[in-house]
């Protein structure tokens, strides 16, 4: 008796969301199967890889990342080099300098950086705030306004500030809204519900359902994404059918495996190799769980994950 393969067919699918304009435009989502289950049906547009850069420049970056951007003097230079990275589909600008507990840069200054970066590149742009809810609530609407016509994704609208960011990005300036929740399927759904109730089209929403570095409570991340994809596809839950974007680099480069120097942890070996491994493995695990896009920063991680996605689709 031959093997009787029973494909898992779903009539529902993840919404396709366009980012950027022109030739380099990318589409997130569109799949009607579980991640990489191409033997079941359509993979949609395939997962995408973004390259993270920061308004704080390169001073705090790992050595190999600094080396990649050697010679870059302005944010425009850095952005151009980022979009040229092998395997890059889009660029993600993190405006971490806006943090009131950090550099506390002014909104005008940050908007100018976002504009400089957006004008320098042709690849789609994702703009991430500084994680301070109050500041982001003011900053991201201004960024949305300044970058009109570029079709950028703004990360992120949270429970506390979704009204300001959702209305500006999703309604007034026709950008894409990132909905960020804290590793819980119900919170993710609730936020999508209230954002769409503002009048934002479901096709303009991308979810960041929260993440962690592998080993750091990553069990919750796996189960949250597993359950979201299952509800979206098998139960046709329209409020969970938004594609998922996961910022990986900002998590993985902050854990001790990626930071402890070779003097501090001699048995652990090469620091750069550890950082890449943590980033690559967290990205792979996220993609297998359901991320439609991951944001990384080390050139080797970007190339490896882009290649893996290509091999799997």
């Amino acid at each position: 008796m031959p093997f009787n393969c029973k494909p898992q067919k779903f009539s529902a699918s993840i919404k396709a969301v366009d980012l950027g304009t022109g030739d380099k435009k990318v589409t997130l989502g569109g799949e009607s199967v579980f991640p990489f289950y191409s033997f079941d049906g359509s993979e949609g547009n395939g997962a995408k890889v973004g390259v993270e850069i920061s308004d704080m420049g390169l001073d705090h970056e790992p050595e190999a990342v600094k080396a990649y951007y050697a010679g870059c003097e302005t944010m425009a230079d850095i952005a151009k080099k980022a979009e040229a990275m092998e395997g890059a589909d889009f660029v993600c600008l993190r405006l971490e300098g806006g943090d009131p507990n950090g550099a506390d840069k002014s909104i005008e200054e940050l908007v100018a950086v976002a504009k400089e970066v957006a004008d320098a590149i042709t690849a789609p742009l994702v703009v991430e705030g500084c994680k301070n809810v109050e500041k982001d609530g003011q900053l991201l609407p201004k960024v949305a306004e300044a970058l009109q016509g570029k079709n950028v994704l703004l990360l992120s609208a949270k429970e506390e500030d979704y009204k300001a960011i959702g209305a500006a990005a999703g309604l007034a300036y026709d950008q894409k809204v990132g909905a960020e929740s804290a590793v819980d399927i119900n919170l993710a759904k609730q936020l999508n519900v209230v954002i769409t109730q503002l009048g934002v089209k479901p096709e303009s929403v991308v979810m960041n359902v929260g993440t962690a570095a592998v080993g750091y409570g990553y069990d919750y991340v796996i189960s949250t994404m597993d359950r979201i994809k299952a509800a979206a596809l098998s139960q046709d839950d329209k409020m969970l059918q938004m594609p998922i974007i996961t910022p990986i680099a900002s998590e993985t480069w902050a854990v001790k495996e990626s930071m402890a120097t070779e003097e501090d942890a001699p048995e652990w070996g090469n620091l750069d190799a550890r950082g890449v491994s943590m980033e690559v493995q967290t990205a792979a695990a996220s993609l297998v769980s359901g991320s439609d896009a991951v944001i990384l920063k080390h050139p080797q991680s970007v190339a490896t994950i882009a290649k893996m996605i290509k091999e799997l689709i």
Binding site: G215, Y216, S223, A284, T304
Partner: protein, 452 residues
């Protein structure tokens, strides 16, 4: 196909003798249907019914044991496809590779590297559990036997990847007592390989040119009576391997196709030869998607630290949070004169807090007391984190070891400050910020102000 309680009940003697431990035959049947009790607990089942039932009520995926002594591992036995449905039971095991195609120096270096990675993480020992010993067709049998001997000397469980029956037999002669996996059966040699594996009493690995051939060969082996198998799902491409790994597990668990109800091997070293970063990505991928054994070229700390962390997360009970052992954890070179900071034993909290403390660079004794593995607020609400629990722990376990009398408590339980001070005479209790991420600035400020 799984049977319902009623179907099982029809085959019982219906005498309600209670000898099985259940009050009635009906109750017993229901428990068997749920998998809570084995059918053999009933002494009065007819042979016929027993045969029929043990087949039908057997778990969808077999648990296969490999290795011996301290290096014995259970593989498979899974009942669900997703960890949120029920706990995954047999964690993925990792193997380094050696091959007759490598020169002696490379083999020695690789085998030496196997013992390098060995550490503990939240109560679990993390190390390279297995070694894959590959035979390159055409090489001398003696060469392979020597290589197997060398690998066996490490004490690790071996996987003999060898498709030549005679060579495999020679290798089994020198290592069969350590119960290696003989990974070598395919459509052309399965009868002889099965005989060799059975004679040596070891698990047989089966592979196929595609998933249909793998299925047919496995079915043929079962027909020969060999059900001590592992399926090597590695194909020529990453894509086909991923498809095999998922389809095999899904057929077994979702469609209860028992022919595929065995653990699996994924050889990532073969799929991404010489590409270390890709092997890392794939090792993580196949840990998530159903590899019971994942073979890499070499396991080093860079690969192990994230991989074992991922595995530890993936194989936890979704209903039981991960806990760290209570105790004093000195960070940044802290000694008995360094300040104490306490939080709960929930692993996620521990990692967040210890990570931030390490970033601050300030020497701190992180004191973890038993709080039922709950987060700060939940533990407080449940009464597991209280002024009494903290003060008792400090009186019993900390006061005689630490000279500092300053204690930082979580910002979320600032309300406990007064009570703890009352119960811990001589201690100054300081309230930390609400979020772990604010600790770096908080501690640095304390240091700058000479408060430490």
């Amino acid at each position: 196909m799984a049977l319902t309680g009623i179907q099982i009940f029809k085959m019982t003697p219906k005498k309600n003798c209670k000898e099985c431990g259940s009050p009635t035959c009906m109750a017993f049947s229901m428990k068997v249907a749920q998998g809570a009790v084995d059918i053999s607990a009933c002494p009065y089942m007819s042979e016929d019914a027993l045969a029929q039932l043990s087949e039908a009520t057997a778990p969808p995926m077999k648990t296969i044991k490999v290795g011996a002594g301290e290096s014995e591992y259970s593989l498979g036995g899974e009942t669900v496809l997703y960890r949120h449905e029920k706990t995954f039971v047999s964690k993925t095991r990792y193997a380094s590779s050696v091959c007759t195609c490598m020169d002696d120096a490379a083999v020695d270096a690789r085998l030496a590297s196997v013992s390098n990675v060995d550490y503990e993480r939240i109560g679990e020992r993390m190390y390279t559990e297995m070694i894959n010993v590959a035979y390159k067709a055409g090489d001398a049998a003696e060469k392979y036997v020597e290589l197997v001997k060398k690998a066996a000397a490490t004490g690790r469980c071996l996987i003999l990847s060898c498709k030549d029956v005679e060579v495999a037999k020679a290798a089994l002669e020198v290592c069969k007592d350590s119960k290696p996996v003989l990974n070598g059966a395919d459509a052309s040699n399965y009868e002889a390989m099965s005989a060799a594996a059975t004679a040596a009493g070891v698990v047989l690995g089966v592979c196929g040119a595609d998933i249909n051939e793998l299925y047919d060969t496995t079915a043929a082996l079962e027909k020969l009576g060999n059900k001590n198998l592992i399926l090597d799902v590695t194909a020529d491409t990453i894509k086909a391997t991923f498809a095999n790994a998922v389809m095999v597990r899904r057929a077994a668990l979702k469609d209860t196709d028992r022919t595929f109800g065995y653990p699996s091997i994924v050889n990532v070293a073969k799929l991404a030869k010489d590409d270390k970063a890709m092997q890392e990505a794939l090792a993580a991928t196949f840990t998530m998607k159903y590899g019971s054994i994942v073979i890499v070229e070499e396991m080093d700390y860079a690969m192990a630290l994230p991989l074992y962390g991922l595995r530890q997360n993936l194989f936890t009970d979704p209903q039981k949070p991960m806990k760290v052992a209570p105790g004093i954890y000195p960070l940044n070179g802290a000694d008995e004169n360094s300040i104490c900071l306490t939080t709960v034993d929930f692993a996620l909290t521990y990692f967040l807090v210890s990570g931030e403390l390490e970033r601050s660079g300030v020497p701190v004794n992180l004191v973890i007391s038993d709080a039922g593995g709950l987060s700060v607020l939940t533990a407080w609400a449940a009464g597991k984190l209280s002024s009494t629990s903290v003060s008792n722990f400090f009186l019993e376990n900390v006061e005689d070891k630490i000279k500092s009398r300053k204690l930082i408590i979580p910002g979320k339980v600032a309300v406990l400050k007064g009570d703890i001070e009352a119960k811990l005479p001589g201690w100054e209790v300081i309230v930390a910020p609400l979020e772990a991420v604010q600790l770096v600035k908080f501690l640095k400020d304390m240091q700058a102000n000479g408060q430490l």
